[in-house]
């Protein structure tokens, strides 16, 4: 079970080494003649560059605390998916070439020669780790096994050994600005279609602006929000919310991707893809950046962006123009998560909401790995959901918050050819969802991650048929009473509302829509 190898055209697009078409099922992986030398030199370089990497290679005592915490071990039953043993695949090579004991005693010291079999094993298991970091929560030494996987992938990348499902989006993002290679005019067309749907639903015409200089806020979200259902309903939720607030913001067709699949290839590639966000913010002259619902996007923004491409001293500390709240937690990056922004709006009573419009839903919440373990965003999404829905149920302890289970498809391998592997990895999460479905009749799984919305839709259709998947801002949009809206007949998905719908009050809502005031022109 594996993903297809990265193609030459994708590797060439970003100047990655050993670009060639290759097939993991064939014996010959078309490696450079001195591949061992390249790999070991890459390892030496990273051991000296990243103190954490050397530490993680040295300090594991094989206590086993992490062993049964990985969703891939739980779902596959393959012992090499125990985080300790997956890391051991690289540690054995480390011992052989970088420790005295390993050099002298070889196998006796747990060392292995780096041969083709070992290399292929490293490749195979590097793509059975979603870098979710659940194991690291349980490690008494704080070893972040995800960082070991990240390094393994970097080393493999030096030999041109990546997977196409990651490399295709990397190349497209580098050349066109987003993972699917959607060009500016198509992106605008997609938004026009979504705005048509919103007008059908609410009677309100929204005309968002693109690449508008002088806007107060640049909004960046993963492209998954505007090219695939059910993410599109969340994206429509953003559009409706911003319109209702009269937010002075702009979309960008250049920084058209919040996600960063470069992060799944190498640190340098992630930095290159990320750089466009600050560059675009600077070019447009915005004051701060607001970001949509995504998982790994936020790990990148929160933990790496500042040191990669900062300081963003040309921006201001994010301040909500509606409530006046200053987001001190974003003082360094100058970029705020939309769930914090919306929770703040609700907290200050700035939105008119009718949660009864979500009464057809019994909702549970899946904490995304990155927003929970990398950012500690636990309360805001729950607060927002409880404000816009009347029926919310938590999944059991041990499966939520910092101990949340991964969707099973993160870190760049939500591909089709490895479907069974994804379903194995998705089992622990699906099992907890099944529990609340059976106990409380839960029928909707909410989350704040674009990959979750894609991956969990598939996972639920296998494990828990009939379970819907939604972004939180789709729920917000259902409940949002917009100024001048017509009587809502359906929810965002066009399904009839099963509640007595009242006419909206004339004075409902907030300020005048700024995107209208801004002319709503696409400056593509």
């Amino acid at each position: 079970m594996f993903c297809w190898g990265a193609k030459a055209k994708s590797l060439n697009a970003v100047g990655f080494p050993n670009a060639r078409d290759w097939n993991p099922t064939e014996e010959d992986w078309k490696l450079p003649e001195n591949w061992q030398e390249i790999f070991l030199e890459g390892m030496r370089e990273r051991l000296s560059k990243y103190r954490s990497f050397r530490l993680f290679m040295d300090i594991c005592v094989r206590c086993g605390a992490c062993a049964d915490k990985c969703h891939f071990f739980i779902g596959t039953g393959d012992p090499k998916n125990m985080p300790v043993l997956r890391a051991e695949l690289l540690r054995s090579v480390y011992r052989r070439y970088f420790t005295k004991a390993g050099k002298m005693f070889g196998k006796l010291a747990g060392a292995r020669d780096l041969d083709l079999k070992v290399l292929k094993e490293l490749w195979y298991y590097a793509f059975q780790c979603t870098e979710c970091r659940r194991c690291s929560v349980f490690c008494p030494y704080g070893i972040d096994t995800a960082e070991i996987t990240i390094i393994v992938r970097e080393l493999l990348n030096l030999l041109g050994l990546n997977i196409q499902w990651t490399m295709g989006p990397v190349a497209d993002c580098y050349m066109k600005g987003n993972h699917l290679g959607i060009e500016p005019h198509t992106m605008v067309n997609i938004f026009e279609t979504m705005c048509d749907d919103i007008e059908t639903l609410t009677g309100i015409k929204i005309t968002p602006s693109f690449n508008r200089k002088g806007a107060e806020i640049l909004f960046v979200t993963p492209s998954g929000d505007f090219f695939a259902d059910p993410g599109t309903y969340t994206c429509m939720g953003y559009l409706m919310l911003f319109h209702e607030l009269g937010l002075d913001y702009t979309w960008s067709t250049y920084a058209a991707e919040g996600g960063n699949f470069g992060f799944f290839t190498s640190n340098e590639m992630a930095k290159r893809l990320n750089s466009k966000i600050y560059a675009e913010a600077k070019r447009l002259g915005v004051k701060w950046i607001l970001g949509g619902e995504c998982g790994h996007m936020w790990r990148v923004m929160n933990q790496y962006m500042d040191t990669w491409n900062g300081p963003a001293d040309f921006l201001e500390v994010p301040k909500s123009p509606v409530t006046g709240t200053v987001f001190e937690n974003a003082r360094s990056t100058r970029m705020t998560h939309i769930i914090e922004f919306t929770a703040d709006l609700i907290r200050h009573g700035k939105l008119k909401l009718d949660p009864r419009r979500n009464d057809h839903l019994k909702v549970t919440f899946h904490d995304s790995c990155n927003t929970s373990r990398a950012m500690g965003i636990f309360e805001e999404p729950r607060y927002v959901i409880k404000s816009v829905c009347n029926h919310f149920y938590e999944m059991p302890d041990g499966t939520t918050r910092e101990q949340t289970f991964c969707c099973g498809s993160g870190s760049g391998f939500n591909a089709g050819e490895n479907m069974e592997l994804r379903l194995r990895g998705g089992l622990p999460r699906a099992n907890a969802v099944k529990y609340v479905r059976d106990k409380y009749d839960v029928n909707m799984l909410a989350n704040i991650c674009a990959i979750d919305r894609a991956a969990l839709t598939t996972s639920m259709n296998y494990w828990n048929p009939g379970m819907g998947v939604t972004g939180v801002h789709e729920l917000v949009a259902n409940a949002l009473i917009m100024t001048g809206e017509k009587k809502r007949e359906t929810n965002m998905r066009g399904d009839p509302l099963d509640m007595p719908v009242e006419e909206p009050e004339a004075e409902a809502g907030a300020a005048a829509p700024a995107d209208k005031a801004a002319g709503g022109k696409a400056n593509v």
């Binding site: 079970m1 062993a67 049964d68 071990f73 739980i74 779902g75 596959t76 039953g77 393959d78 012992p79 125990m82 699917l180 959607i182 198509t186 067309n189 997609i190 279609t193 749907d197 059908t200 505007f226 090219f227 695939a228 259902d229 059910p230 599109t232 309903y233 059991p396 041990g398 499966t399 089709g416 479907m419 069974e420 379903l423 194995r424 089992l427 622990p428 099992n431 907890a432 529990y435 894609a454 839709t457 598939t458 259709n461 296998y462 494990w463 048929p465 009939g466 819907g468 998947v469 939604t470 359906t490 998905r493 066009g494 399904d495």
Partner: protein, 195 residues
């Protein structure tokens, strides 16, 4: 003592033998984890298998009543839960479903342990074997449905990932509400019909 009474008395022991046989299809470290970790959320595979074989066993025993037939409905859910897991794990079809037949061995080992005293029970085993065989046939159907569902999920993902773009390129011009951007999405996607 008839077979049903005997198996009820030896329920724990038979299930332990049967579980052991199911777990022998996993590597030893994994089998140890599946057997010993009792938390249903930390160890869903173990919980599903344990609950499943218990439910199937009880269903089969109920079917040993005079003139009774096994309640296929009760057993079907347990059967589906187990097979859903094994259909996506690294097993061939025969490996995935072999656990059903290993119940015969678990029962025979238990009856065999009685020595000559168990001869009377041997005569009743044919009826239980027939029920297990029928269960196996039902299991083939469930397994096929699971595999078919996986292929449909693959197809649907491709469809969902490209739908908006095809729509923009005017390559989709259906009149079905699901094809016009309304009423589509997760709720109306074809896979809903599968479950």
């Amino acid at each position: 003592m008839d077979l049903k009474s005997f198996l009820l008395e030896k329920r724990t022991s038979v299930l332990e033998r049967w579980l052991g046989d199911v777990l022998s299809s996993y590597p030893s470290q994994t089998a140890e984890f599946i057997r010993n970790r009792k938390n249903q959320f930390a160890n869903p595979v173990g919980n599903i298998i344990s609950e499943g074989i218990s439910g199937i066993f009880d269903g089969l025993l109920a079917g040993l009543e005079a003139d009774a037939q096994p309640d296929a409905g009760v057993m079907a859910d347990f059967l589906e839960d187990i097979i859903k897991v094994r259909a996506i794990q690294d097993f061939s079809a025969s490996q995935a479903l072999g656990f059903i037949f290993s119940l015969k061995k678990a029962v025979r080992d238990e009856v065999g342990a009685l020595g000559e005293g168990g001869e009377g029970l041997h005569k009743e085993l044919g009826r239980l074997d027939g029920s297990i065989d029928r269960l196996a046939l039902a299991a083939f159907d469930v397994y096929s449905q699971c595999r078919e569902r996986i292929y449909e999920l693959k197809a649907n993902e491709v469809r969902n990932q490209t739908y908006r773009i095809l729509q923009q390129a005017n390559l989709i011009c259906g009149t079905n509400p699901a094809e016009t951007g309304k009423g589509g999405g997760n709720g109306d996607s074809p896979e809903k019909k599968i479950g």
